[in-house]
């Protein structure tokens, strides 16, 4: 276990950084494979409970089910469905059309989709699904659900290879993640809500020591 905790560089740091948003938000390590101190039993137990409660993950099989869900569309699928309907419409027309709808949540989602269509028309909120997948994989390592380190890197690399061509850079990836998180949690698009949704991303953007501000997005990802 002592050797497990170490600061990563290069490709491994790049892969771990896919889950950075959740790591920063929850105060976990961002430059290591481990999320937190390996000996903190209380934290590990808490992690197990929340992983089971929030994701239904308690072993390898349930982990793979969750990863498969994210891989097969996750929340991105619903977003893209909506983007196909509302994305191309000019904002003013979109607002006119929304005037006849009472469902505030639906309206807020449409506004998010419409506003970010130019920036996310190809990738949607895929970063939201991919970022969560990367975090789940790290979590599985931290909680001992997966015990072979090679397997962890293999899984992360699979996601990395899928994610990399979809985005133009870390900023683009971050934007897709932030919009995804807002889309998932949206009930209204009030200023406090949006500020809150953007806090983590702003923290990362302004932190020059964060891997996103140090690593090239187009790093060549190679099989071990």
């Amino acid at each position: 276990m002592e050797n497990r905790q170490r600061e990563l560089t290069g490709q491994k740091l790049w892969l771990v950084s896919l889950g950075s948003m959740l790591a920063v938000q929850n105060g976990y390590y961002v430059k290591e494979l481990l999320l937190d101190e390996p000996d903190d039993e209380a934290r590990i137990n808490e992690g197990r409970v929340s992983l089971k409660r929030d994701w239904g993950i308690h072993d390898r099989e349930t982990l793979k089910d969750s990863l498969a869900f994210l891989d097969n569309g996750g929340h991105s699928r619903g977003y893209m469905d909506m983007a196909r309907q509302w994305g191309h419409i000019h904002e003013e027309q979109c607002e006119k059309a929304l005037a006849s709808i009472d469902d505030e949540t639906y309206k807020s989602k449409v506004r998010l989709v419409n506003t970010h269509h130019m920036a996310l028309h190809n990738c949607g909120i895929y970063a939201w699904d991919a970022g969560r997948a990367a975090h789940l994989i790290r979590d599985a390592w931290y909680l001992g659900i997966i015990t072979e380190e090679e397997e962890i890197w293999e899984l992360l690399l699979q996601w990395g290879k899928k994610v990399q061509p979809q985005f133009t850079g870390w900023d683009h990836f971050g934007l897709s993640y932030a919009v995804g998180r807002a889309y998932w949690a949206v009930q209204n698009l009030s200023k406090p809500f949006c500020n809150n949704m953007y806090t983590t991303l702003r923290k990362i953007t302004l932190d020059t020591n964060h891997p996103w501000n140090q690593l090239e997005w187009n790093l060549l990802l190679q099989d071990p």
Binding site: E91, A119, C194, T205
Partner: protein, 705 residues
Amino acid sequence: MDCWSKLGIEPTTNKRGIKIAYTELLKLCRPDEDPEGFRQLRKAYEDALTESRFLKDASHPPKQEPDTVKEDEEPLGNETIPAVVSVEEITSITVLDQALTQLYHDVDRRHRKENWEALFNSPVSFELDHARAFEDHVVSFVCANNLLPDEVLTAFALHFRFVEEFIRFESREYFRQAQYLYYYLHSGLQRLAYPKPEILPSDSQAHLEFLQTRRMVEDSIIFRYLPPDELLKTYQDSIKEDHELRLYIARYCLGYGALEQVHQLLDSDKAAQVGGDAFALLGECFYRQRLYKEALQHYQHHARLCSEIPATTSKGIALSLAGLGEQEAAMELLLQLVDQRPHDFEVRQKLSEIQRQKIEELKGNTDGEKGLQLGQLLFDVGLYNECMAIIKPMKYYLENQSNPLLAKCYSKLGNYVDAGHEFYYLIQSARLRQENIVDLAAEYILCCELDLGPNQFRKIVGPELSKLCEAARSNAEYAYVVALIYTRMPGLLKVDRQQEADSKAKALYFVDLATSLAPNNGRYHYLRGSLMYKANKDEEAIKSYEIARPLDYADYLLNFRLGMAYFYTKQYDMAINRLEFTLGLNASPRDEYNLASRLIICYSKLGNAEKTIEWLAKIKGNEHTKSNFAHTPLCVLMDNCMHLPPSVPRFLLELISTLENIRELEYKQYCDLFLLLLKQMGDEYDEERKQLEHDYNSQGKLFSH
């Protein structure tokens, strides 16, 4: 191959025959599977119809061709809506209606076409003897409800073959039914900028509109299946004259990233013909190509053509400026945009990016103008502690410049006492320099709005009030500040009733001034709404709160008051909407009771027995029910329950009987209503009624002490 060969029929004047041939072939080349085939078939069909008219003219046909007569007389309407609907059918439709409603209201499920397909293929739909009734029911249902996603729409179109139905409905007599269909498809697709047609007008203009709508719907369907270059070919003739269509297709192409086609459609000359929006669209196109200079030119041109610059254009200008490295100008615009468009994360991200670069550039500067710039940037990005670390040593520098940055930092960190002190020193030193301190006073009010003490008010705000009032006459923000001062003044200073009334009147005057100077500012309307609400001007409160609502949809007080104002103005539907929403915002048990009791009245006023009972059941368990019942609208409630089905008064009766303090109620009218209620209940409560009547008549003490 001519049109007749394509349709597989001999040349004929029989329109119906042409349509049948077209309909049959349509099954083989549906627009989603074979767009090119569909286009050719459609052309053949239209050509055949044109030629058939020529054939008809040439051959001098009899006045009434048998086929034509048959077509005209054929009861398409009866096919569409069965004349007699059996009880069994009604039951089926009712069941279907429930299933449709359930699915529609299930937000997670309704956006998936599989769920609708499952419904169409469910036994419910097969129970209907008349397929048309089912189809019409679906059409009228979706017409009456909100928009559905394209995917679902396509599932409808394919299932019911709406495209083919264009022909069935083309006959003028039935266009009214058809209009439902087209209206639905059109509004559902939301593709075109054309005005919506009126449903069911009855003159020839309506028929024209119908035909126009039909074209738009057909266009929309084709749009979804044709790639951009094919689309351009298909519409190359139509767009010559139709600028709106040209713009629409260009927008469609842009949406699919077909930038080359956008430029084909809109060069500078064409853009000038099409109008202002074309320049914004071109700006977006150039921006995507990273040609920032051209993008900026087009966006700016669009801005010049608009009386009020749309936020999307401002965003385009800001992003283009950033692309060109004009950071200062871009930052200024982006800061405004974050305020206007809180949900636009792209704008926030670009702003953060520029701010980070600027912070990096300025790092190490701890004094003078650059130190101040760095401090301001750190403040703007929300790093208040870091900002304090830079600007605290610059305190006297800031004071000399009357710069409230340090005070604002304290305020942001929740330290209103130190914020107040800082403002006080700033204002005092500015006074010594004989400077105008109206700005500082206004800033102080805005910063410390929540924590303004009477002393601070007297020392800082009081002396400046007349100057602020003067400045407020032409400045919305100052008018708002003065309205805030007068709103809070009665609470801060000991004032008599007359002074309090004067303050309220002045607050109303200045907030009205603020909203007239800046009609779309949510903050001003929020304050106005609250003042109007307190003054019992519910209609005005509603107007202002509705404008303020986008500022924070989840604001508890706003939603609470809005719900109540709708309630008091008897707009029960709207009241229900807001009151239920407010209940979802962690209402206290006391408010929960108040809101729920209003909801009961709303539902009972609307005659909705089911919901009335549902909410009665909810308040039954509320701890405030017992203590508040005497003061709440029980009387109104009982009165309203009289017109509802017996289940409601029965439930209310049971609820009342569980209340321990019912006998303590003082009002005689309760007794009368209560007895009336029992009478309405009939024999079931006969004994109880007699007993109560006896008590009431003989002792006159019932329910009173």
